[in-house]
Amino acid sequence: MAAETSAPATGAGEREPNHGMRIFIIWLVLALASDLLIWFVLGPHLPPGDLASAANGQQFDIKVMSAMAAPVMVFVLIQFIYSLIVWRHREGDEEDGPPIHGNTRVQVTWITLTTVIVLCLFGFGTYELVNGPGAGAGSGEGPSPIVNPPGAELTVAQQMAPYSASKPLVIQVIAQQWRFTYRYPQFGGFETTYLAVPQNQWVEFDVTSIDVIHDFWAYQLGVKADADPGVNNVAYTKPLQLGSITVRCDELCGLWHGAMYDYGSVMTQSAFQSWATASQAHFADVTKMLPPYATTYDPTEIKQLGTVLVKLGLTGAGGGYYPPNDPSQP
């Protein structure tokens, strides 16, 4: 390199090469290359894949973030390596560097650039969060989401209306130590341990818990929502491709939290409907025993629980199963 050959003790007379321009050009080439690699090569493999709309959206966001972060990192690395090579200490050079007290241009550029980057991320993130139906990035949006896909069913009566492929499929996720069960109110409210969802239809997860706090994480669907007792946490996704799903609990919930996972799949519309109809028949006997479909179930005060013992004549439980003051941690 030219800088190296003319390097030793660059005197005042010798022309200093334009380091800024050099760094800029090296940066431009490498930043462009890394962004192209991130977008086209690494991008399609970034988590959580593209099985469903929410997963897709998350993958896109991670791609954008990586593409924005890479040039910054490349710049830092180039600056570091360039300095090591070009401005390293050379033999015989005992001179001090010039005393520099601030550089307005560098400072203004620095503050402007970082501000612009942060504001862009803020704008992008906000837009992504509320952009179009079923946004919310696949996370739980609480009982009354701000953004809903068309035909979203939020009241119990709406959710129990018969299934229609043109409306979102409602699935209630019931977390309990240490298993998720899934309730399908549009199919008579049957409950099962298998999570089946149809392709190309909005799915509305109504996530709740009947004991402690869990977290419903359907990884490939891009859905992750806290399962809190007494709370209905709604999350949306639209499965786009056929495939299998792994569901994990993502909130430490006791001894077997680590074993709290199960599987499911995205089915074709017709396969899903026959699965659901068959399950409705298969679980008919136990469905009759379930409490009426509701958005939440109180873990501490379920009337039927005490009733059984009282009916039998055992009054030890006081007719209220675990009164609010009873459940106490040791």
Binding site: I210, G254, W256, A259, V308, L314, P327, P330
Partner: protein, 228 residues
């Protein structure tokens, strides 16, 4: 303080900490209930018969008021205070559970359905049953559930008031009102540990009935170790 006193104090403090750590490791981490071996001398694929009982208490433990399972040792015939057992891979496991505890309703009545057994039923005192409604009548004591293989068996309890008032009070139970529940399932073909648990919120006095015995190996939860 003189130097030897300071060094001595430090040394004593250091030894106390080390001793504490060793005690915690040995007492809490390494010590556990024994594993009842149903696989010894049984060729993989051959059927085994295992026997458990569930008690209203565990008077042979340091938690005498905790509900508890016991497992019968096939060699000695003794009831062991443990919830760990071994079965051969790929074998048909014939299970007998003696339900000595009274009834408690399930938190989620969904678990009143028998799943994962051969034939989809359990025999309660000799009669096949596929669902038990713990919310409608006194019917379920605890459950024996292995989620990893989709097994869920609500263990029937004695149903009458007098039986529920006169449950056995000394563990392991040898007499007193009880049900005999039998069912069979196929053990997985590959080795592995499969946790099992009860789904009745029977940890009375704990948060949502799910602490204490429900989360302690040796009481209401344990592991099935599949070996070949």
């Amino acid at each position: 303080m003189s130097l030897p006193v300071r060094v001595g104090t430090l040394l004593v403090a250091f030894l106390a900490v080390v001793g504490g750590v060793i005690f915690v490791v040995i007492h809490f981490l390494l010590a556990g209930p024994p594993v009842v071996d149903y696989a010894a001398g049984v060729a993989p694929g051959q059927p085994v018969s295992i026997m458990l009982q569930e008690d209203p208490q565990n008077t042979v433990s340091n938690h005498p008021d905790w509900v508890s399972y016991f497992i019968k040792d096939p060699k000695t015939g003794a009831w062991v205070h443990t919830t760990l057992f071994q079965v051969p891979a790929g074998s048909r496991v014939n299970v007998t559970i003696l339900g000595y505890d009274g009834c408690t309703p399930l938190r989620n009545p969904f678990w009143g359905m028998v799943t994962g057994t051969i034939g989809g039923v359990e025999d309660v005192n000799g009669s096949p049953v596929s669902v038990l409604n713990s919310w409608a009548s006194c019917s379920v004591g605890h459950t024996f559930s292995i989620p990893g293989i989709g097994l869920n068996v609500p263990v029937a309890s004695p149903t009458t008031l007098s039986a529920n008032k006169n449950v056995c009070g000394l563990s392991p139970c040898t007499s007193g009102p009880h049900t005999t529940v039998t069912f069979s399932f196929n053990a997985p073909k590959s080795d592995g540990d499969y946790f099992w648990q009860c789904r009745v919120p029977c940890g009375l006095g704990y948060l949502d009935g799910f602490g204490g015995p429900m989360q302690t190996i040796g009481f209401m939860t344990g592991q099935m170790e599949v070996v070949s």
